[in-house]
């Protein structure tokens, strides 16, 4: 296509009320562009986006048989789709339309220089005309889509997404890596604002989940591969054996005997290693699914348990299931930050623990709060451990921890007698209604001391006790020492340490190492991989309520993608000039989405674009030594014609 193909171009220049015309002489712009040979209609308009103008453009296109249109108005971010629809209504391909931004990038930016702004607007509109001259009518490819969604992670957020999706009519496979559902929330006791426990919330969700015929739950299961694209992902799931027969009716007394008989004793990660557990386990009695599990990584197959119980079957093998799904929703949550040895005395001073450990300690304690056989009276909380790091990698605030710590300190005050709470913080962030907790804690007599980034508190041994020293910002740097029987490091959220799923799905990771959305405000639950959505804390620190909001949003987004049974793909993708291509594999290496493959064409190896996988990012374009790759909508012809017109 060396020749300009369009010869009946319509050009519309918008006043935008006076937003543009106050600084840009729109009539002068019109006069200038009207001189261009292929422009057959040129008009100024008060509001291009107004219904009447839209109808007028439709009429112009139809009556004059226009083959392309240019609208010079506001940012394409606002009205690109509006005018694409106008073109479509008039029977013109929407890709034969170009929008030129003469408001944000011209009249407003240069409101101080109206003459130059007008000159710039003329050049900009000319460049749009040059570009649209080479525009190709592009057709969106339609592919069929399975109304099936795979939800990864059966924590609070994943379970809620699954229920929502099932309600909306999608078939859901809910895949949980652990043997029990509930994720982090099942580890927590009472929660603000409803005072329900984590266990109660999980139990409620599980019972609801079980009512749906269109939800299949796999526990002890992991995705091991995923191929295909939006609408048609082929997912392979590995289900590890539980070593318990599915029909097992749990008798708690008998289960305890079996657990007692198990000779394997390992640190209990559910309790953050405060206690130990056996290879056969159930974290708490009301945990779901009801039947216990035997951890295959630690079980020695000694057979002691089999001697006591017929429902145990150590012969069970891994199972593999293939699922065809239209969309995937990642809901894999977070890990608590694990402080380094020696960080505020962690793992060096015996009464330094983390906030998650404290919460489990409360759950495990009776009427008194006891740690390592010592009754606790003074607790010091050191905030922002692993978050808002001045020198470390975690620059972000973990959002939930101020609230969670203060709530925990209130629970402690209410539950145990004569406990004093000392908070060593970097400024408290109990935003919104959570602020009420801060007030309550202050009224309870909790002491809040604030430290500077440069001067964090120091935890040291003092005889048999532990002392936290701080230069307190609130008392103008006064050096204070507090004796504490328990020092709690308020640890933030970090991405899951085992995050293989990111590689398997090629889902993008942001600079904070959490999953990354396309746009934090406008497309907050989608990733650049079409059909792969993210929600909950796998995307970044969130409290439970924020996690659920994002999981509901992602569920409806996933459902709306697949429910129609077919999906339209963006046509602005790369294409290869197979004559010019000599297959050097540079493009294949540059593509982050495996969208380029080697094929045979006319007796030689050449590159080919897998259309459903290409995201149109264009990373393959500059690396081709033969310049054999172009991107539809951004071809050399279009780009160079624009540049030429702008340079003029």
């Amino acid at each position: 296509m060396a020749m300009e193909e369009k010869n009946k171009i319509g050009v519309y220049i918008c006043h935008c009320g006076s937003n543009i015309s106050d600084y840009v002489d729109v009539e002068k712009v019109r006069e200038e562009v009207a001189k261009i040979k292929h422009v057959s209609i040129s008009k100024t308009t008060m509001f291009a986006c107004a219904d009447a103008t839209q109808n007028e453009i439709v009429q112009d296109i139809q009556e004059n048989d226009l083959d392309a249109i240019v609208v010079a108005s506001c940012s394409p971010k606002l009205h690109l789709d509006t005018f694409k629809n106008v073109a479509e209504r008039a029977g013109l391909n929407p890709y034969n339309y170009v929008q030129i931004n003469i408001r944000e990038q011209c009249s407003w930016a240069h409101s101080d220089k109206p003459v130059q702004a007008t000159e710039k607007a003329i050049q900009l509109v000319k460049s749009g005309i040059a570009r649209v001259g080479y525009s190709e009518a592009l057709i969106k490819t339609k592919i069929s889509a399975e109304n099936v969604v795979v939800v990864i992670g059966a924590g609070v957020s994943g379970m809620r997404s699954a229920i929502e999706l099932a309600d909306l009519g999608s078939y859901v496979y809910l895949i949980e890596r652990e043997y029990f559902v509930g994720g982090r929330v099942s580890q927590w006791g009472e929660l603000f604002t409803t005072n329900e426990t984590g266990k109660e919330i999980i139990s409620r969700l599980y019972h609801k989940l079980m009512e749906y015929k269109n939800i299949t739950l796999f526990t002890g299961a992991e995705i091991i591969s995923s191929t295909g694209t939006v609408g048609n992902f082929d997912i392979q799931v590995k289900i590890r054996p539980r070593y318990i027969k599915p029909g097992c009716k749990v008798d708690p007394e008998k289960l305890q005997k079996v657990i007692d008989a198990c000779p394997v004793e390992i640190p209990d990660v559910f309790n953050f290693n405060l206690t130990t557990c056996k290879a056969i386990y159930k974290n708490f009695e009301s945990e779901f699914p009801e039947i216990p599990a035997i951890d295959p990584d630690h079980c020695t197959r000694c057979g002691e348990c089999e001697k006591l119980c017929d429902d145990i079957d150590l012969g069970q093998q891994d199972e593999f299931v293939n699922i065809k799904a239209g969309a995937i929703l990642i809901n894999t949550g977070y890990d608590p930050y694990e402080p380094k040895t020696g960080e505020f005395g962690y793992k060096e001073i015996e009464n330094v623990i983390t906030l998650p450990q404290l919460k489990r300690l409360i759950e495990l304690s009776g009427e008194e709060l006891i740690y390592k056989n010592k009754k606790i009276q003074n607790i010091g909380y050191i905030y922002c451990v692993g978050s808002r790091q001045k020198d470390g990698e975690n620059k972000y605030c973990s959002r939930y921890c101020c609230t969670s710590t203060i709530y925990t300190s209130i629970v402690i005050k209410n539950k145990y007698k004569n406990i004093h709470n000392y908070h060593f913080d970097k400024s408290i962030r109990t935003y919104g209604k959570l602020e009420l907790l801060y007030r309550e804690a202050s009224e309870n007599g909790d002491v809040f001391l604030q430290f500077w980034d440069e001067d964090p508190p120091v935890v040291s041994r003092n005889g048999n006790g532990t002392v936290v020293s701080i230069k307190d910002m609130l008392t103008n740097g006064k050096e204070l020492e507090v004796d504490c029987d328990l020092v709690v490091l308020v640890t933030g959220m970090v991405p899951r340490q085992d995050n293989k799923i990111a590689d398997i799905l090629k889902a993008p990771i942001g600079r904070d190492k959490f999953f990354n959305e396309i746009h934090p405000k406008l497309r907050p639950v989608e990733t650049v991989i079409d059909g792969v959505l993210i929600s909950g804390a796998c995307q970044g620190p969130k409290n439970i309520s924020e996690s659920l909001k994002s999981s509901l949003s992602a569920a409806s987004k996933a459902n709306s993608l697949v429910k129609k049974g077919e999906i339209e793909l963006k046509p602005t993708i790369a294409f290869i000039d197979k004559n010019a291509c000599v297959w050097c594999d540079e493009c294949m290496k540059a593509c982050p989405f495996d969208a380029i493959i080697k094929v045979q064409s006319n007796g030689k190896d050449v590159a080919e674009i897998v259309e459903a996988k290409c995201k149109g990012g264009g990373m393959c374009l500059p690396v081709c030594p033969e310049n054999a790759i172009n991107l539809k909508g951004y071809t050399d012809n279009e780009m160079e014609a624009m540049i030429t017109a702008l340079a003029d």
Binding site: S75, P76, K77, N101, R103, E104, Q105, C106, S107, W108, A109, H110, S111, D112, K113, Q116, A117, E119, K120, Q123, L124, S127, P508, I509, G510, R511, N516, E517, I518, H519, T527, V528, T572, A590, P592, K615, G616, G617, G618, M619, L621, P622, V623, N627, L631, Y634, D636, M639, E640, M642, I643, T644, L646, A647, D648
Partner: protein, 129 residues
């Protein structure tokens, strides 16, 4: 023309730097009107050929408003865009175009002030040459 105002071509990206340039306009932060923006999906998609074409056609400076680490396509974006710059610098040398006429900086989606600062600085730099 000895005192001709330099012309700058900016490659901005649809999702990241273009919104910042829009924001600069919205805030009426002024920068020289000889700055012309062409939008691409990602800064690692800019061909050396397009940059050289801009110089051929009379642009005095080319600026890539890069996605940086905010790129929604891939984290290799920064590295790949830098590669385009160094590759193009080589080609510019062959043609006798000073390498400082091609610049790149990451412009995040709200980095309006930083964009304006870059443009003012670049225009001053080109005027002095």
């Amino acid at each position: 023309m000895a005192n001709r105002t330099p012309k700058i071509l900016v490659f901005s990206t649809e999702k990241i730097s273009d919104p910042a340039i829009d924001l600069a306009g919205l805030l009426k932060l002024h920068y020289p009107p000889i700055v012309y923006t062409v939008e691409v999906p990602c800064s690692s998609a800019v061909k050396s050929k397009w940059i050289l074409h801009a110089f051929d056609q009379g642009f005095d400076g080319v600026f890539i408003a890069a996605d940086g680490t905010d790129c929604s396509y891939d984290e290799s974006c920064t590295e790949k865009t830098a590669q385009i710059i160094s590759q193009t610098h080589e080609l510019m040398k062959e043609k006798g175009i000073p390498p400082e006429k091609l610049k790149m900086a990451a412009i995040c989606s709200v980095c309006a002030e930083s964009f304006v600062k870059q443009m003012n600085g670049f225009a001053d730099q080109l005027s002095e040459q």
